[in-house]
Subunit: 129 residues, 2 copies
Amino acid sequence: MPRMEPETDLVDRWRSLLTCYNEVACHLERALGDAHALTLSEYESLDRLTTQECGKRRMQDLAETMYLSQSALSRTVSRLVKNGLVERTHCEDDRRGVFVEITAVGRQRWAEARKTHLAVLAEHLTPVA
Amino acid sequence: MPRMEPETDLVDRWRSLLTCYNEVACHLERALGDAHALTLSEYESLDRLTTQECGKRRMQDLAETMYLSQSALSRTVSRLVKNGLVERTHCEDDRRGVFVEITAVGRQRWAEARKTHLAVLAEHLTPVA
DNA sequence: GAACATTAGATGCGCGTGCATCTAGTGTCT
DNA sequence: AGACACTAGATGCACGCGCATCTAATGTTC
């Protein structure tokens, strides 16, 4: 059994996590939105898809590596589809399944947005204490 | 000029912050909601008010120590008022200003919720790596 | 003191979220 | 094959959020 962390430390750590997260997320959301018309969730989804060599994943797999609920992911993908950044294709093996594949336009958009993403992180993600 | 942190480290740190935050926030939100009918923001607001000895603060002061936008805070306080956990009183010196004061019921509710809050943190806030 | 800028906080609006539920395809058991 | 449980993902709904704007009070300038 691990030694108990004092309650105040625990709360303090949470507080700083909360503050730090909101600071960065807020700036990211705005910068990505203004410069690239992307939500943070949309950017993160594209990011997951580009790092996969095939650029193609089941919704399920995508969901596992993300912080979103199943329904939120579904809608995020819908938005990406609507904007032509991603395509849905039915899975042949299991026709309930859906593959999500990034398009050329999607890759391009992601590549541009990545610069903004890094810049915001560099500016607002405070270094480890 | 500080030495540049490699980009991947920066992104990795952000990723883990994002994941960790959402994990904890999600559990907190549900636990506080189910057990005490409180939003995370509502709990955090009450928390700010209890740690002040006078239990009374200007909206502005409250806003400074919080992660919420001005409008979100305003509505959060409105909800707390509606549920009798907090009271709004006009500021005499500057009649645009508003004081927010926690009620007895509010203190009680906060005290109960605090246990849940701590329990969730202890369970889901992973210790510093 | 009248006109104008500024500030504190409230509010209309559109949007992304989680929860619960729905639809449709799959697996199992007899 | 037929009935029933289960799974993948979509969708209705209510809600909290940020942004822009509004209202009312305060400061400022002439």
